[in-house]
Amino acid sequence: MRVLEIIEDPTGLFGAHSAIVDADGISKEVRLDLVDHPPEPGDYLIVHAGFAVNTLSEHEALRNLQLMREMAEGLDGGGGPGA
């Protein structure tokens, strides 16, 4: 889900409190209590039961795809640890 807006904690004590995300065209609010690193607008969040649990790494997503394509084309050497 793509972050549209970050909402700060109304008391000012806890920093980023929640985010408005775009979930297939629907806007909804998700809590940010559990994320290691506060997201920014434009980031993609993995959301579980109303809580963001991680920010998707766009760099790793592209790397995952690249490795898949190489594997599918038989260009990955056929073994060894992947990422």
């Binding site: 809590r31 039961a49 109303g50 998707l56 795809l65 898949m68 599918a72 056929g78 992947g82 990422a83």
Partner: protein, 360 residues
């Protein structure tokens, strides 16, 4: 949708399926631990693409399915108490207890509300100050941090008419128990994606080191699952037992430390019963004493009974990977999604529900 559609590319799926076919050269048994993988494999039609010699069996990774019959009975008893509102994820509603289900007691007048997030329980509590709202805390490492954060929020707001019945669980202890079961024979594990976001891939290291089991953490899109299976079969072919990460766009080696810190603040590990596996030491999330005002077991004085599994139902054996749904005598006959006997037929992540929906 960006970062979803790319991983469903039919051409890439076809090429990866061909590569998987090429690497499987002898019978291989792989357990997919996570219920979301089970459902994804069926939903995307991957079973029909898998080589015949690759056998996939399901494990104990559906949280509703592994919830003991005693816990389900306790949920139903709480729903029947005066002035109690039950807040729960939808999957639990139709799971049969010994004599009834949340669904049936709701039809008889009990107040059972389906919620999307545990935080919705706080909203319910706020708008019903004369009732006690009990959230049914069923889930694994992915769901339980949100439940912990909700308890912290209830404590911050001093909300005294909200509490949680914690039946949350962690994955490594049942996996250890399964690996020690002489009846189970598997070559590799397709490790859960979302649980691993929290735990990190390091949580499975003992499976490779102590039991020689090849492990690959996988995402849920069809190309993710196929790539993880290829990596797994290659490990097995090479005689390697390692933990590899095929879902690195969201899973890291160390996991989510913030979520684990919140878990540790609110919960402590305790012995808990698993359907099919019995009581497993230090495998459940119990609420720490300092958060006792939000612990439903203490607040409502609940006793969880040890009750037998439904007669004829083999959910327990299915969760241990010892049989498949068609091997169960009641599957598809007395036990169907409309009239479920065991939880594996109810939950959207249940193996029997997946088999029934996609193969019957």
């Amino acid at each position: 949708m960006k970062y979803v559609d790319e991983f469903r590319d039919p051409e890439l799926v076809g090429s990866l399926a061909a590569e998987l076919d090429a690497v499987v050269s002898r019978p291989v048994r792989v357990m997919e631990v996570c219920g979301t993988h089970t459902m994804s494999i069926f939903r995307h039609g991957l079973r029909s693409l898998l080589p015949e010699e690759l056998q996939l069996i399901s494990g104990p990774g559906c949280p509703v399915c592994v919830t003991s019959a005693g816990h389900v009975d306790a949920f139903i008893s709480m729903a029947q108490l005066d002035n109690v509102i039950i807040a729960t994820f939808g999957d639990l509603i139709r799971v049969p207890g010994t004599h009834s289900s949340l669904d049936r007691v709701r039809a008889d007048g009990a107040r059972v509300e389906v919620v999307y997030s545990p935080m919705d329980g706080l909203t319910l509590a706020g708008s019903n100050p004369d009732k006690t709202v009990v959230f049914l805390g069923v889930g694994f490492e992915t769901t339980c941090p949100g439940i912990a954060a909700t308890i912290l929020e209830a404590s911050r707001r001093r909300l005294d008419n909200f509490c949680v019945f914690s039946a949350g669980k962690i994955m490594p202890p049942p996996l250890r128990a399964l690996m020690q079961d002489p009846e189970l024979s598997i070559d590799g594990l397709l490790c859960p994606g979302h649980v691993s976001i929290i735990t990190g891939t390091g949580a499975y290291r003992f499976l490779a080191d102590e039991f020689g089991i090849s492990c690959v953490v996988s995402g849920f899109e069809p190309t993710d699952v196929l790539r993880a299976l290829i990596m797994l079969v290659r490990q097995i072919n090479e005689g390697r037992a390692d933990v590899e990460n095929a879902y690195s766009r969201v899973v890291t080696e160390e996991g989510n430390k913030q979520a684990r810190a919140i878990l540790d603040t609110v919960f402590e590990l305790e012995d808990t019963p698993w359907r099919g596996l019995g009581v497993i030491a230090r495998s459940g999330f119990g609420i720490r004493e300092e958060f006792a005002p939000w612990d439903a077991v203490k607040k409502l004085d609940i006793i969880v009974q040890d009750v037998p599994e439904p007669k004829g139902c083999r959910c327990g054996d299915i969760l241990k990977g010892l049989c498949l749904p068609p091997d169960c005598p009641v599957y598809g006959k007395r036990c169907t999604p409309l009239n479920p006997i065991g939880p594996c037929m109810v939950s959207s992540e249940g193996t029997c529900a997946a088999y029934y929906k996609y193969t019957m």
